[in-house]
Amino acid sequence: MQLFSSLWLWKLSCKGIIRTTTGQRHLKHTHTCFRKPQHKHLQRDQLQNSEDYWERRRRTIGLKEWDHARLSDPDWVCAGSAGLDAVGIWFRECTHDREEGTQSEDLRSAMGEFKVHRVRFFDYMPSGIRALAFNQDTERMAVARMDGSVEVFHCSDRFFQEKIIPGREQCGIEGLSWVGERLFSAGLNGGITEYDLTNQKVKYTIDAYGGPIWTITGNQQGTHLAVGCEDGTVKLFEVNEDQIQFERNLDRQKSRIISLSWHPSGSKIAAGMMDMIQVFNVETGHSIHRMLADRGAGTSRSKECVVWSVVYLSDGTIITGDSVGMVKLWDDQTGTLIKSHNVTKCDVLALSVSQNEDSLVAGTSEGIVVQFQFVSMVLEKDDKEWVRTRTFRNHTHDIRAVAEITTAVVSGGMDAQLVVRPLLDKIEVRSAASALRKIHFPHRRLVSCARKSGLMLFQYPGHLELWRLGESEGKGTPGSSLFVKRNPEKLLQLKVKGEDHIRCSAVSPCGGWIVYSTASTLRLYRLHCDNNNISITKISKLPKVLSSANQLCFSSDSSHLFSASAQSSVHIASLSQSGCKFVGTLKPKSGSHQAIHLLAASEDGKWLASANSDHEVHIYNLQTQKAHCTVPVYSSAVTAMGIHPATNCLFMMHADQQMFEYSIEQKQYTDWSRTVQRKGLHRFWVERDTPCLNVMFNPQNPSHVILHDMYMLCIIDQSLPLPDDKTQFYNQLTLKSLTEEQRKSQSHAFKVCKTFKDILCVELMPDQSLVVVERPLEDIATQLPAPIKQKKFAT
């Protein structure tokens, strides 16, 4: 009946009889709005056929394909097609009248105690940031690190680290440049590399034949790349459809080209060199002007002045930052110095100008970022000048790269942290998205846990470490440390063959298998643990499809290996004593071909979920090896997910801190998830600035979901009421002081433990103990090279 009525509604609207306003949603009022039939009232066969129903409807309407719009509300599905201007929005289900608290009281037990293994022996060292490139159109920030890895952050999605392309030995990236949506890098090995961002790997590398390359920059037209080489040449490359091709050299100079900047028109190029700046006419390849940069006074007079960075503005102003600590402004017409600002006693290493050329940021080797703004000195007069306005001190070490994005200054350097400093004058609404953000750790899991055998696998760029957890004796009161009966021990260190760094790795839950993948190879090892004898055998004959993986995952019974591969597909291989056998490939029915960054297998071995960087989550039935369904696409990236062992619900965490629970069997969001979305999450939860990186479940307490980010560990008790904005969110200390009875009325679903800091990974072991892998930032800081010595007062 309902099915009929909604069809009827649709017909009416097509005839223009009904025009429902959906002003409360994000869509325009001319869009029609429908109620999709409520699943729970449908018969089981209808339920199974509901996908068919949508398919039939698609054909009826004449759409080529459902285009899932990114709605922030899972209750709504937006569908449309480019060819038609008709867009339908379906209210997926109206269960708002659902009553709460149906779960029995006895589930509301006290959370109780946890034994926690605090692990700090994972010596993870983030690599220093060498270059930044911001793509205004896609709002992506590309970051190149010292170890040659390239990462892509989504600036408008809470700076989630969408893509990671692992580096390789001796790679030495010096510059990054976007050309349209293509990303290029160049480095001291003399090659120019283009990246395949879909599959998150290097597409090709060509040699520029000019010795080490110091800088790379593309023109705004997107037609050419210019690289500055050690041999003193500026080489122009033409950007073709699928490759780049060497075009010509500009006039060769005597010294190396350190920095380059295109005039926005693309007709001129400014090059920063040793002691001078050259301006080239791109057309002729000849130098128009040569401007000499002054060396420092006193003893530093004998040292060359290195023009580390140059920026060419559309009005003809050339701005340079040099090793003398000056930011200088030159006129390209006359080739004269207009103004110079002494920013620091050390080097000005990086410059970046905003899109509309009214603001400039300079990063120095003292770790400060200085902002200049192009403002008129007299109010309402037009004669503007570059004035030093602000200073940001967020780094301890040299800043190697800065980039001014729409609302913030992004900087990175030797201290390996990416700092996003919002420019408050450009922010209209203060929110969590506009807060100061420091990104220390990758948004991926570097630790995998063999839960059943108490083993941990640490992933370093060039090797893997396998550790066995220690054991404790006796019991302790909360807050105390237990006696460690057996210390943790390092069982294995596995060095990677070849130059490529590890992209992903996993240890099987039983602890019997270790797998890792680089950009070029995938290796699987069988691990034998007899008492204290550890032996490891490499599985030699791997199926050909398992040549490389974007993400790896074992089934919970360790019988299968899932390997995420190109085209968003997942290969299944069965594991046995005899070896590894290819079983099949899971392919999504439709959608993008972006690389998968998360895999989650269900406890019962029936389901597998994959998430890719286009925010799509596909669920596969492992028994039929067919795609089961696709979770409605949400606007923010999935940062962690897990399938509940008892209910087979997929729990997803997103970069904007929203959470969804999707029932795989019923192909719909659970009631709890809807309640969360309807009531909204607490302000403090949404304002956290690091993404949740793991979702775990407590088999002994099915209503518990365990989450963690860099700063906290949280247990969500789904049987408890959700906090609203008036409730005290971080209430553990309050609850501690209350009696058992009072706690019942005070407690809410989010139980946040902030005892731990700088968390890389949290795992729940079968014996109810937690493993918390911490990497204190102070420890990282002590291992960094010494910063520039600065004279401080009274030292």
Binding site: A110, H117, G470, G479, L482, I715, R743
Partner: protein, 682 residues
Amino acid sequence: MATLYEGYTLCGVGPVQNSSNIGILGVEQGRDIDYVLVTDSSRSITVYKVSDQKPTGSWSVKQGQIISCPAVFNTQSQEYVVVTDDRVVRVWKEDDVNLEKAFKATVSADVLRVLSATDSEPVVLFCCGAVRFLDSLLASPQQPIEDVLTEDEIIRGEHCLYVQRFNPNTLVKHRIETEPGLSAPISFSATCRGSNIHLLYLYLNGSVYESVLPFRSSSTGAEGVQALSCSLCLSLPLGEEKLMSGAAVVLDEAHVAVIGFPHPSAGACKDYLCIWNTHFQTLQASKEMAGRIYSQLWCYSGKLYVPHGKMLSVIPFDCQKSSLAAAMGKLKQTSRSGKDFSSDIYEMLTCKNRKTCQNTFCLIFKPLQMDCSLVEDVQAEVGEFIRRAPQADLQLAAGRVALELVSRSQTDANFYPQCAFLQLLETRYLCYSVCPELLSLAMVKKDFHLCQIAFQIFSDIPEAVTCACLKAILSTPDLEMETVNLDTDSVIFMKELTQAHSRSDEEGGQLNGFCPPALESDVSDTPSNKLQRDPLSLDMSCPVGLHKGALLNEVLQTAYSDRSLLPHLKDLTVPQVIVFLQYLRFLYFKYSHDAHKQIRALRTPSISQIIDWVCLLLDAHFTVLAVAPEAKRLVFDLHKFVRSQVKLYAELGKIEGSLQVLKNSKQSEDFGMYAIQVIELF
């Protein structure tokens, strides 16, 4: 506490033509707070700059004309206003020289007063009770003036209060409800606080009543006379003589200045200006006024204007916020007695119905005044009175009874009802200012028991009296003192203190406060004196008897302010100072020595009190102590001990940092690379 500062003469009061006439008609606020307008009855109006004590302008009326009300300054128009010959209103400016040439207007009825308030137009009050704004009156001077008062009423006559409100123009008649039989109040004072008008009346019998009148009364249109309730807020002591006049003026919400009433301890002489605290009924400050006083008193911006003798004196005053602590001087150390006291005060403040009390004590009073009654009878009567009188009423009555008994004891040498005094003290309603003579009487009679109780209970003993008592205690021989019956608790404390000394001596243990480096440095300081003993074991016997010690302890625990105490301490003789200092040193050593011991006693001097007194005593007699040979040893011991203590604390200060680090390190959880911990989530 309120303070009356040294006054100065503003001007002389003109020759009084006849004795009944007073010299000054009024003192009014001038154009700013430093200017006053003095109208004297000899035809002249003078403006004085108060800080310079100089006249800045003077005007007089012609011979034959009479100034009929004090001149006022109209702040709205910056003009002076005066009324001459009852009906002629004169208005002039500062730079007008001749009053005759100033603006004049004759009104149709007799004017009583012109009243001025800052930021508003002056109002003219007619003898018939009508009120007009000055500007509206001057607009049509001959307008008819209605009679507000009935035929037989005159202003300042009966117990009625007329309140006329402008805007809306209403007139309410209130009858002041006081005790029957009281004549008309002799002085009024009104202030505005919050949204109420506070009226204060002073009656000839010494009672000060207060009425609160809301600005906006809800009873609009209620005809007839409304009753105005009033509460007694102060009972001034009366002297022997029959009083004829007096004046009171409200200074702030808790203080009132009174002139013309006798000082409670200065006998019959009534020429005193006193500031009383109406909350605690305590005398806060007083000043004797030379010459005849006229029962006139004005108060403008922190200065009191008092005509007396042949001059008009300006007396600056200062009323501090009347907190309990301020009213009692320093806060007492023993919280117990302090608490009792404050609760008593609040009881007293909340007490409303005083009628019964008045009656009771009148009844009681009659037998007491009979000369023939014996001490025993009086004691019985007092006991009966305390038992019978309601708790709330005792506050006022107890003071009266005590005052009466003291004055009789002073006149009759054989009459000394010690038990009655003790009973009255036990009520804890007495304080020093209620009955100042009691303590000195006890001193004269050498009644140290009473002294001790008074010291325990009184919280407002002046420093001079404290010193006098101290002197008396120190000068009394120990033998005589031991016979005195004292509070057992204090004696037990002294006993324990002296015994503790001997016990620790026997054990030979040197515990807290002992500092060997002091000894070494001491030896090096005076190498000749090899036999020098440890300063702590030196002279650890109590220099005074147990009872004297107990009394001295009481003195140590009194509240005082050191600046007032210091001059009085100088009255002590050198031997007294030395004995007292020896005792203080004994206490100090004891306290440092037995810091770990808890002698269970209700009242013990605290170490800071002891050190304060040592400092005060040394300050007061420094030169004497430096010169006197018998004091040398004592001062030297003290010096050594203090130096050793300073060294000890310096050493402790040095390790404070390390202790802090220890504490912090415990908090930070540095567990190395691996730990298994237990956390609890709720």
